[in-house]
């Protein structure tokens, strides 16, 4: 073995320093300083609201509406061109009603370049901006928290119109609240066009409202159901179909305005179901204020705090959350009326969070970011690689299959094909990086005492620098957090 190019500064490193960066962060970069007090280092990351994300890169609401309109026009033009090629009369077939998702791009005529769509471009720009931030930051705990809450409030770009708003959704509805109040995050989410479009509330109309009576339109209960089931109370929360319907009525009129300023959330009084509504035995007044009151009440419901505590502990500590740990985080949420910063600090203080072996399996997003951080690649370049390769690894960014988000248990991510693809991906990256990165030095700097002796021995025996690096990056300990 040649001498390690980087000084093995971590030789005497407390294991807790690495655990802090792996369990609550996105893994160490080789040059990151070693915190003397890992818990205090994590707490400092939560001391203030995270610095605002720049507007640049995260397209705002007007740009998202413009992209949707442009793509509709592009799709229409492409259909017409196709119809002309096919020799028909060129009449474009309308797919989907106005205000609904624009149709997927039709296949272009043979030989013609595919039409250029704007929505995927916006999503890619925002995704890469966020990945670059995650790769560049030393303080990765708030990034992990934002990813957790973004998954809790999943908006998937599989819905292309909703996806166009994802950058703004992350920047304005999720990120500012990761150390704030859960009720504020819930309200910001429920009023954001991304969620109102993704879960169809934008077109939900009170059947007895003026618009409902005139147009014969009615409720769409999709958002109301998922708020109760996924975002707040959880399935154990004891609500019934009547409560789903009641919340749907409460939220009628919560819609989006895409044509006239100000663009974004709008409360359409004409579509709001008149009268008081009863949700879980509680009365909520007619009007926009009734919806705000209902969401604030749900946000501070004990079942919600229990649901959130369970999910947080499952994400940061163990697939099967230890009940004592859930109780601690639950009590914090209850006593602080849903202070998410306090809940994050409670997670740091859990004794269960600090004891190796680390049993959580990194999902592909966390694994990808940890590898790219470890290799010390320039963040913008690495962000492009991550965005491009995450689909192959089974977790395309912001594209969860369903509103319950990506799974948070190892069994979901440990399928044979998925694990083999990580190995292949690590091998491909190692081919780029092996000339400048020494495998064992990287293991010492990034994994420190978590590196297994077998891994270090095999890396030392490997036939090439690339193979050695693959062995470290694809080792079992690198896949755990």
């Amino acid at each position: 073995m040649p001498p390690a190019p980087r000084a093995p500064r971590l030789r005497g490193m407390e294991i807790q320093s690495v655990v802090a960066s792996v369990r609550f962060g996105l893994g160490r970069r080789p040059d990151d300083p070693v915190p003397a007090d890992p818990a205090a280092w994590l707490e400092r990351q939560l001391a203030a609201p995270p610095a605002p994300l720049p507007a640049e890169g995260y397209a705002g609401i007007p740009a998202a509406f413009a992209a949707i309109r442009a793509d509709r026009e592009t799709a229409r033009a492409a259909r017409e061109a196709q119809a002309r090629m096919a020799g028909s009369d060129g009449a474009a077939r309308r797919e989907g009603a106005e205000g609904m998702a624009a149709p997927e791009p039709p296949p272009g005529p043979a030989g013609a370049p595919p039409p250029a769509f704007e929505r995927p471009r916006l999503i890619r720009a925002a995704g890469q901006a966020w990945l670059a931030h995650a790769l560049a930051t030393e303080a990765a705990f708030p990034v992990r928290l934002a990813n957790f809450w973004l998954n809790h409030f999943t908006v998937s770009r599989r819905h292309p119109d909703a996806g166009a708003f994802l950058g703004d959704f992350l920047r304005t509805a999720i990120h500012p609240h990761v150390t704030g109040r859960f009720a504020d995050m819930l309200l910001a989410v429920a009023r954001h066009p991304a969620m109102l479009i993704y879960l169809d509330n934008a077109g939900s109309v009170g059947p007895n409202s003026r618009a409902g009576l005139r147009l014969g339109r009615g409720l769409n209960e999709n958002l109301a159901r998922e708020i109760l089931e996924l975002h707040t109370l959880g399935r154990a929360g004891g609500y019934a179909q009547a409560d789903v319907t009641a919340l749907a009525r409460i939220l009628t009129g919560w819609s989006v305005e895409g044509r006239r300023e100000p663009l974004g959330f709008v409360f359409r009084a004409a579509a709001h179901e008149p009268g008081e509504k009863v949700l879980l035995g509680r009365r909520f007044a007619e009007g926009e204020e009734g919806g705000i009151a209902a969401l604030r009440w749900l946000a501070e419901h004990p079942a919600t705090h229990r649901h959130l505590a369970t999910k947080l502990v499952r994400h940061f500590v163990a697939d099967d959350p230890p009940p004592a740990a859930v109780d601690r985080v639950f009590a914090t949420l209850r006593d602080t009326r849903g202070d998410l910063g306090a809940a994050a600090r409670a997670l740091i203080r859990l004794p269960q969070a600090w004891s190796p072996p680390l049993t959580k399996l990194r999902a592909p997003l966390d694994y990808t970011l940890a590898v790219l951080r470890a290799l010390g690649m320039p963040p913008d370049l690495a962000a492009g690689i991550a965005f491009r390769d995450l689909p192959r690894l089974g977790q395309p960014l912001w594209a969860a299959p369903a509103p319950n988000g990506w799974a948070d248990q190892a069994a979901e991510w440990a399928a044979p094909e998925g694990i083999l693809r990580r190995i292949e991906w690590a091998h491909a990256l190692a081919g780029r990086a092996a000339r400048r990165v020494d495998a064992r030095a990287l293991a010492a700097a990034v994994l420190g005492p978590l590196a297994h002796p077998d891994t270090l021995r095999e890396a030392g025996r490997a036939g090439s620098a690339r193979d050695a690096l693959t062995l470290v990056l694809a080792s079992p300990e690198f896949q755990r957090r």
Binding site: E95, G96, A97, M100, A101, P107, L199, D200, G203, S204, V205, P207, G212, R217, G218, L219, N220, E221, N222, R225, E229, L230, R235, Q241, V244, L361, P391, R392, P401, A402, P403, N404, A410, A411, W413, A414, A415, P416, E417, G418, I419, L420, R421, I423, E424, W425, H427, A428, H452, D454, E458, A462, G463, D467, T470, L471, A474, S475, P476, Q479
Partner: protein, 413 residues
């Protein structure tokens, strides 16, 4: 079952070529070849999970019901014979016009429609209902009914059918003690066999990842041998049928069919197809997933070739949707829906249902198609009469379902 012991590096090196490329390597991988090559029984079972809740009345409209047209309103298809109308299934029910392959199978007595079907689950949550649909139990479990059925059958001489998951993940339906193979289109170049052997050894101390790497490598070898030269046609290459593009499901179904058709290959496969959660603009949004399903069945049938006559395909979804349209020309979460049983082994050409009716008083909670057939009865019927699994396996698959008798007559004698 405990995973195979990790092979030594020497054994892998001895079989290096075949290790990556074919079945010969399976010998080196601790008996895996026996499981693949010697699986007795020639009957194939494919389960297609439609995630997101297919509207059963959109796929199979009950146009003969006197309340159908009024209740469905803008969602009602024209009756059979009219332009854009449903394909007729014998006078009371129709099939969505995008399901042409299914209709041809029906006319060839190879498709059975079971209507007003639901699992035992009633609370309209996608995620709990999918868990229940796959786990076969009312309380969440970490294993699926299909896996438990196969595992329970193994001790019997008759039926250790090996199972295949298609895609990068293993659905809950197929998780559990029985070994499951996986297939997904390839892309990146694989590391050399020697490096893979080192990684395999390195992962042996991690039970979860060790098993994944060992099984993944074994399946890669088998799949590559069976699909040699056809990878471009199955969505692996650039363009065309990407993992999400049109035709992706048909490509996966074709690959599954070829693997199921191979001698010594798996006998049971699970496929998933999403896109069914049509809360808005349902009529337009159903065209793509219905087309994908129909094309996928056609591709599966073609790839299975002569083995189609030994095959049953069960198509299921977590629940049905509301009978009436909601405020956005879609449907919300409901209760009973439709299931399909397809294949050359199936005694098809019929709609089997105890039709609950669509009068206001007949709807479940005034909004949904009422369930009259338990989904588990269909699954148990196929496990017993098609795969010929013993009663013990049925009980393992669906604990607490003693009152639900297996449906008879799903397959030809």
């Amino acid at each position: 079952m405990s995973p195979d012991p990790p092979p030594t590096r020497r054994r892998l090196r001895a079989g290096r070529r075949g290790f990556l490329l074919g079945l010969s390597a399976a010998v080196a991988l601790g008996g895996a070849r026996l499981a693949l090559a010697d699986a007795p029984g020639e009957r194939r079972l494919v389960v297609v999970l439609l995630r997101g809740a297919l509207d059963g009345l959109a796929a199979v409209p009950a146009y003969g019901d006197p309340h159908h047209a009024a209740l469905r309103g803008p969602l009602a298809l024209p009756e059979p014979g009219q332009e854009g109308g449903a394909l007729d299934l014998g006078g009371r029910f129709g099939l969505h016009p995008r399901l042409r392959t299914l209709h041809a199978l029906y006319c060839a007595n190879e498709a059975l429609v079971v209507h007003a079907v639901a699992g035992p689950y009633r609370s309209r949550s996608h995620f709990e209902a999918q868990d229940a649909l796959e786990s076969g139990a009312e309380r969440p479990r970490s294993s699926g009914w299909l896996n438990r059925a196969l595992a329970a059958a193994r001790p019997a001489a008759a039926a250790p059918a090996a199972a295949l998951a298609v895609g990068t993940g293993v659905p809950l339906l197929l998780r559990g003690p029985a070994a499951v193979h996986s297939y997904a289109p390839q892309g990146l170049a694989q590391p050399e066999a020697d490096l893979l052997a080192r990684l395999l050894a390195l992962h042996a101390r991690d039970p979860l990842l060790g098993r994944a790497v060992a099984e993944g490598l074994r399946d890669r070898g088998f799949n590559a041998a069976v699909l040699a030269g056809t990878e471009a046609a199955t969505g692996g290459g650039a363009g065309g049928a990407g993992p999400r593009g049109p035709g992706a499901f048909a490509a996966l179904a074709a690959a599954a069919g070829r693997l199921l058709a191979a001698a010594g290959g798996p006998r049971v496969a699970a496929l998933e197809l999403g896109g069914w959660d049509t809360h808005a603009a349902q009529a337009a949004r159903l065209l793509q997933p219905l087309g994908a399903l129909d094309d996928g069945i056609a591709a599966l049938r073609e790839a299975l070739g002569e083995h189609w006559r030994r095959t049953a395909v069960l198509v299921i979804t977590e629940f049905g949707r509301t009978v009436r349209a909601n405020g956005t020309l879609g449907t919300d979460h409901g209760t009973a829906g439709v299931a399909f049983v397809l294949g050359g082994a199936v005694a098809g050409g019929a709609v089997r249902t105890t039709w609950p009716g669509l009068a206001e008083s007949q709807l479940f909670q005034g909004r949904d198609l009422a369930p009259t057939t338990d989904l588990r009865a269909i699954a148990k019927g196929l496990l017993r009469d098609h795969l010929r699994l013993p009663e013990r396996a049925l009980a393992q698959a669906f604990p607490g379902s003693e009152a639900v008798a297996p449906m008879r007559g799903l397959v030809r004698a």
